[in-house]
C-alpha cells in the first residue's frame, strides 16, 4: 500500500462535511485501503472516487438542508418539471392537430411523429413522476437521473435529424437543474410526500396553461392557437421563478416557513438564469460585486467563529 494512495483517498474523503469526517473518515479510509490491498490496487479506482464524491455531495446537502425542506423542494421541482414536460410534449413535440405553423416537420427530420428526440427527455420526466406518484421512489429517481445524459446527448448531437429541432439548450438546462433539485429529496417515500407531488403538479399545470394559451394565441406566423407553440414560452425560467417566489411569499405570510424555504430552494435554477441574463445584458460587474461581497461576508462570519442562526421569536 503506497502513501500516495492513502493521501489520495484522504483527499477524496475531505469532500465530506466536517461532522461526517470526524465520525467516519478513519473507518472509511481503513475500508478503502483494505479493498486496495485485496485487489492489488495502487491508485484509487475512478468508480470508487466518483462514488465518494456523490455521497459526499449528498451528505453536504443533508447537512445544509433539513429533510422537510429537501422533500418539499423536491416535490415542487418534480411537479413543475412534470407539468412542463407534459405540456411541451403535447403542444410542441407531438401537436396531434393540423398545424398551420411554418415550423411543421420537414421531410426526414424528427423522431417519428414527434419533432425531435426531446420527446425522450420529456417522456422520462413524465415516467419518473408517475413512478414517484405510485411510491416507486428508487425507480423514479433513476429514470429522472437518466434525463441528464439524455439532454446532454441532444445538445451534443444536434446535427442529427432526430435532434435538429430539439428544444433549445436553455429549456433543457432548466429541466436538468429542476431534475437536480428533485433528486435531492425523497417525496415518494411517504403518502404525504406523494400527495405533495400531485398537488404541485396540478398547481404547476394550472399555472402554465393560461401562459401556453396566451403564447399560442399571440403567434404572428399562424392563424390559430392550435399551432405548435414556441419552446421558450413554456420553459421561461423567469416565469417559473416568479411563480415559485410567489409561493415562497404566500407560504411565509401563512407562516408555513418550511414550504417557504422549499420554494426558495426550487427557485435557484431560475435565479441562475436571471444571473446569466444580467451578465449578458452588461450587468456582469454588478453581479461580480454582489457575489464578491456575499462571499466575503460568509468567509468573514465563518472565520470570526460566529454562526448565523434563524430562530423563532419567543
Amino acid at each position: 500500500m503506497s502513501a500516495s494512495l492513502e493521501r489520495r483517498y484522504r483527499a477524496a474523503l475531505d469532500w465530506y462535511p466536517a461532522e461526517w469526517r470526524h465520525a467516519n473518515a478513519d473507518a472509511m479510509l481503513d475500508t478503502l485501503l483494505d479493498e486496495a490491498e485485496a485487489t492489488g490496487r495502487v491508485k484509487p479506482a475512478p468508480a470508487q472516487t466518483l462514488n465518494l464524491l456523490a455521497f459526499a455531495a449528498r451528505e453536504r446537502i443533508r447537512t445544509a438542508m433539513p429533510v422537510a425542506v429537501r422533500d418539499r423542494s423536491s416535490a415542487l421541482a418534480w411537479g413543475v418539471g412534470a407539468a412542463i414536460s407534459v405540456v411541451m410534449f403535447v403542444c410542441i413535440e407531438w401537436a396531434p392537430w393540423p398545424t398551420a405553423d411554418p415550423r411543421v416537420l420537414p421531410p426526414g427530420v424528427g423522431l417519428g411523429p414527434f419533432m425531435s428526440a426531446t420527446t425522450v427527455v420529456l417522456g422520462l420526466w413524465a415516467a419518473s413522476f408517475l413512478a414517484a406518484l405510485v411510491g416507486a421512489g428508487t425507480i423514479a429517481r433513476w429514470i429522472l437521473a437518466a434525463t441528464l445524459p439524455a439532454s446532454l446527448a441532444l445538445v451534443l448531437f444536434d446535427t442529427q435529424p432526430w435532434a435538429a429541432l430539439r428544444a433549445p439548450s436553455s429549456s433543457l438546462l432548466f429541466l436538468a437543474l429542476m431534475a437536480l433539485i428533485a433528486l435531492q429529496g425523497s417525496p415518494a417515500a411517504t403518502a404525504r410526500g406523494r400527495a405533495w407531488l400531485a398537488v404541485c403538479a396540478i398547481g404547476a399545470t394550472g399555472f402554465v396553461l393560461p401562459g401556453v394559451v396566451h403564447a399560442a394565441a399571440t403567434r404572428v406566423s399562424d392563424d390559430s392557437w392550435i399551432s405548435r407553440i414556441a419552446w421558450a414560452d413554456v420553459t421561461r425560467p423567469l416565469y417559473w421563478g416568479a411563480a415559485l417566489l410567489g409561493v415562497a411569499l404566500v407560504a411565509a405570510i401563512a407562516r408555513r416557513l418550511t414550504w417557504s424555504a422549499a420554494a426558495l430552494v426550487a427557485v435557484v435554477p431560475s435565479l441562475l438564469f436571471f444571473a446569466a441574463l444580467l451578465v449578458a445584458s452588461g450587468g456582469a460587474v454588478i453581479l461580480a460585486v454582489a457575489i464578491g461581497v456575499a462571499t466575503a461576508a460568509v468567509v468573514l462570519v465563518r472565520r470570526s467563529g460566529y454562526r448565523v442562526v434563524v430562530q423563532r421569536r419567543e
Partner: protein, 114 residues
C-alpha cells in the same frame, strides 16, 4: 404500519451481519459472496447505508481496534435489525415460492395441451 421493500444492498449488508460482527471490508466481501459477485458495494454506498441503518436502529457499532495504525470499526445487527432481516427474507421466499408455483402450473398446462 406497512414496511417498505428493502433495497438489495441494504438486504445484503444486514444478511452479511447475520452471523456476527464485521468490519467495513468484510461486509463488502460478504455482500459480494452472498450475491455471487453481482453486487460490489462501493465504500461511500456502504457507509451511507450503515449510517441510515444506524439511525433506524437496525445496526449498531460493535467496537473499534487499531490494526496496522489504522482504525478498524466493527458493526453488528441489533435485535430489531435481525427481525427486519427475517421479515424481508420471508417476503422474498414467499415471492419465490409463488413464482415457482406459477411456473409449475405453466409446465403442467404445456404438457396437457401437447
Amino acid at each position: 404500519m406497512t414496511t417498505t421493500e428493502m433495497r438489495e444492498p441494504t438486504f445484503l449488508v444486514l444478511a452479511a451481519l447475520a452471523d456476527g460482527r464485521k468490519h467495513g471490508y468484510a461486509l463488502i466481501a460478504e455482500a459480494a459472496e452472498l450475491s455471487d459477485g453481482r453486487v460490489q458495494l462501493k465504500v461511500g454506498t456502504l457507509y451511507a447505508a450503515l449510517d441510515r441503518l444506524g439511525e433506524q436502529n437496525l445496526v449498531e457499532g460493535a467496537g473499534e481496534e487499531i490494526v496496522g495504525g489504522r482504525l478498524r470499526r466493527y458493526y453488528r445487527l441489533t435485535n430489531a435489525g435481525a427481525a427486519r432481516l427475517e421479515q424481508e427474507a420471508a417476503r422474498l421466499a414467499s415471492n419465490a415460492a409463488n413464482a415457482r408455483a406459477k411456473l409449475r402450473g405453466r409446465s403442467a398446462g404445456t404438457v396437457a395441451s401437447a
